[in-house]
Amino acid sequence: MILSNIETVPGKEITRFFGVVSGSTVRAKHIGKDIMAGFKNIVGGELKAYTELIGEAREDAIGRMVREAESLGANAVVNIRFSTSSVAQGAAELFAYGTAVTVE
């Protein structure tokens, strides 16, 4: 599966396009991380635990988007966008969407 966030896949031609495909996941961090992050908030700096968590979740969302594209018989998703939103206190949604296409 080829993924891109431009209109095309360079060097290939889009022969067929489908509709929007998307992948999403809602993740919560556990209390331990929450409390550690609370301490870290005093001094600032990167919250490694959260970086990891969000990164993992984003991979998860991309994976689901790819599965949707696969179920259509597409071989690429172009024009991919991400959006992250806080769904509830301590929970974030990672959302990825794009247009499924067949390239040759």
Binding site: F17, F18, G19, T25, K29, I35, L72, A100
Partner: protein, 278 residues
């Protein structure tokens, strides 16, 4: 470039776990953690509490729970007669290291508490509902039992450990998660509380027998207490959960009295000067 109107497979963005399975797993998990923390805290406190020096306890808590009577304020006469009765009861506990103080709380529900530092608090509701000196003597004896076993410190320690757990749950979870954890924790600590009450009853009963030569009044106290007051909530509800006024406890009292050869019947002393202060 051709458009293909296919629709992607349904349900890729939704986990297939059944919500009830998820609910069972989460509720079980939270309850298990709360019970584990509650039991661990109770065991740890039971290990530590007997080793806390009494001087340290008194120093730490002195002045926390007494009413802070102003110099010119008239002392409640009930307090004086209670202190006198308490002195008589404590007299049968020669190794008593505390200098006890009495506090009367303006609360309509019958209750009595042993507080860190040697303060025994009784409520208006209790004083208005006891019918003889013996009953009151048993309540005081029971609270003295809590002091002897350092139960007041245990209760405090478990309370602190438990509040910490609930705060931690509250940081991440919702209010219903806190409620669930507190229910599970209270359930786990119930057994510890019950054992303490029985032990305190045993001590109170021994003091009662030593003072009057019989234990009449102890049982009567439990028998008419359940009729008092209405449904309780909040802090007072914990009185009923930690002082379970049930047939079991009366049964246990009878057993103890029988075992020790204490007479359950006897002449009860009338109450003196315990009518509410004007």
């Amino acid at each position: 470039m051709k458009f293909d109107p296919s629709i992607p497979e349904d349900g890729i963005n939704v986990s297939r776990t059944h919500p009830l399975r998820e609910a069972l797993l989460l509720v079980g998990g939270v309850a298990a953690i709360a019970i584990a923390v509650a039991v661990a805290a109770a065991v740890a406190v039971d290990l530590v509490a007997p080793h806390i020096p009494i001087e340290l306890e008194v120093r730490l808590f002195s002045g926390w729970f007494d009413r802070g009577v102003e110099a010119d304020e008239a002392v409640d006469p009930r307090e004086q007669s209670l202190a006198k009765l308490l002195g008589r009861m404590a007299g049968h506990w020669p190794e008593n290291p505390y200098a006890f103080e009495i506090a009367i709380w303006d609360i309509p529900e019958p209750n009595a508490v042993a507080l860190p530092g040697g303060v025994i608090a009784v409520t208006d509701g209790l004083l208005e509902n006891v019918e003889s000196e013996n009953e009151l003597a048993f309540v005081l004896g029971h609270e003295l039992g809590h002091f002897r076993n350092r139960d007041h410190l245990r209760g405090l320690g478990r309370g602190i450990a438990f509040s910490l757990l609930l705060v931690a749950v509250g940081v991440g979870g919702s209010s219903s998660a806190v409620e669930l954890a507190s229910l599970a924790g209270q359930f786990a600590q119930r057994g510890f509380d019950r054992d303490q009450e029985i032990e305190a009853d045993r001590f109170g009963l021994a003091l009662l027998a030593a003072e009057y030569g019989h234990v009449s009044g102890a049982e009567a106290f439990f028998e008419h207490l359940p009729e008092l007051g209405g449904p309780l909530d909040g802090e007072l509800a914990s009185y009923y959960s930690t002082h379970p006024l049930n047939a079991d406890r009366i049964q246990a009292l009878r057993g103890m009295a029988h075992e020790m050869g204490w007479e359950l019947r006897g002449e009860r002393q009338p109450l003196l000067s315990l009518s509410p202060a004007r």
